[in-house]
């Protein structure tokens, strides 16, 4: 194999790898953004949209990097707005709807624990760009995790109704957690190059930490036998199309518009 071909394959895998991480942040940011002005209280409204903003900031950094190595004249906006559904690599968990506040918190918590573990490893990547984004992101993500864990405990160990709703959300969202640790082709390729992170390596640690918080919140840890997967390979749940319709509407209707 000639060197050029290897390089272009490597860059292609790196590009997909960046999107595997970044798309989670974009879609979750979009979901949280839907709550702007609709949060259950002013404080939580501000908190959720601030978390959304952090995630969007991280997304921009990733997409700018991806655009740079894409080899085409792409911009961060093209990557964010002009892909079709099958090209988004986010996990199924982050696209789940804001059914009620318990779901918003449950989804956030189940993602934050994973996200922080990933960032802690990624900050040591020899890829300087990814390491810098992760180092910056860790400070933000640890704060998100603190917020979501606090709320899981408050709702779980709160009233009968809040406990029921929190349990309902955890039971429903649990099936999307296993996918976080499935390795895609791009992830495997990047692990081989020592740039990427083997997400399966912290799966046990993840479930241990999540379970500890759920126990403290007096919630029952689900014992699913069935787990959903597909998002990381571009096969999404029915919710994804609606998210993209909202997200992409302006760019599709008025191509290249800017604020």
């Amino acid at each position: 194999m000639n060197k050029e071909l290897t390089d272009s394959r490597l860059l292609g895998n790196l590009y997909n790898y960046i999107l595997t991480i970044a798309d989670n942040s974009l879609i979750l940011a979009q979901r949280l953004g839907e709550l702007c002005g609709h949060g259950p209280s002013l404080e939580t409204d501000i908190a959720l949209t601030n978390i959304s903003l952090d995630l969007l900031g991280q997304t921009r950094s990733y997409y700018q990097y991806a655009a740079k190595i894409s080899g085409e004249s792409k911009t961060e906006d093209d990557i964010a707005f002009l892909r079709i559904e099958r090209e988004y690599k986010n996990c199924l968990l982050v696209e789940q709807p804001n059914t009620h506040f318990g779901y918003v918190i449950g989804r956030q918590f189940l993602f934050d624990v994973y996200h922080l573990m990933l960032m802690e490893k990624l900050q040591n990547s020899p890829d300087e760009n990814l390491a810098a984004i992760a180092k910056k992101g860790i400070k933000e993500v640890s704060y998100h995790k603190r917020f979501s864990s606090d709320w899981v405990k408050r709702l779980g160990d709160g009233t009968e109704e809040s406990n029921t709703k929190m349990q309902e959300a955890i039971d429903d969202l649990w099936r999307y957690t296993d996918e976080l640790f499935l390795m895609t082709e791009a992830e495997n390729a990047m692990v081989k190059e020592s740039i990427g992170i083997d997400v399966s390596s912290f799966k046990v640690k993840y479930y241990k930490e999540v379970s500890e918080v759920l126990k403290e919140a007096t919630l029952i840890i689900p014992e699913n036998k069935y787990f959903a997967k597909g998002g990381k390979e571009g096969v999404h749940t029915e919710h994804m199309g609606y998210i993209l319709a909202d997200l992409q509407y302006m760019q599709r209707t008025y191509p290249n518009m800017s604020w």
Partner: protein
């Protein structure tokens, strides 16, 4: 204060001082410690800017304001956004912290103290209005990503606390 660690050419400081954070207008970009490098080469000013938070919407505005400030004295400025090393509240100058307090925002505490107050376990944040530490956390997130919302239990005034970021 680590602003000294940033590489800023002395003759550019007067212009940089005129550019402020749009969210906290009393703080200049120098007070805030977001300018990591400012050098002039062949008549062009090269500035390296680092965001406080990844999604900080003030960054684009600050970039534009920097270019405008230099164009007013007939100089072209190029602004580059850098992420590494990540910004820390340690980079806010002492002068900046004082201005912030006068403006009504409580200054960041040390990392451990910060954790204690944000978990609501200790009363350490000083009210910028009356100076009392009899204050409590209202919300972990405030008017911007870098602040949390507090309330003073003595003078009853709500206020922003600039979160410690290290």
């Amino acid at each position: 204060m680590l602003t000294e660690a940033a590489h800023i050419e002395k003759h550019l400081i007067p212009v940089l001082k005129t550019v402020s954070d749009p969210e906290i207008p009393v703080l200049s970009v120098l007070d805030l410690g977001v300018i990591r490098e400012a050098i002039e080469e062949n008549g062009i000013v090269h500035i390296k800017l680092t965001p406080t938070y990844s999604g900080c919407p003030a960054m684009d505005v600050i970039g534009d304001d920097l270019k405008k400030a230099f164009s007013e004295i007939g100089k072209k400025a190029e602004v580059e956004l850098i992420l590494s090393p990540a910004w820390s509240t340690d980079w806010i100058s002492e002068e900046g912290l004082k201005k912030m307090e006068e403006y009504g925002i409580a200054r960041p505490l040390s990392e451990t103290a910060d954790k204690d107050v944000l978990l609501g376990e200790k009363k350490l944040v000083k009210c910028p209005q009356c100076g009392s530490t009899n204050t409590h956390l209202v919300s972990q997130f405030g008017s911007t990503a870098c602040k949390a919302l507090f309330k003073c239990d003595d003078c009853q005034e709500p206020f922003d606390y600039f979160k410690c970021l290290k």
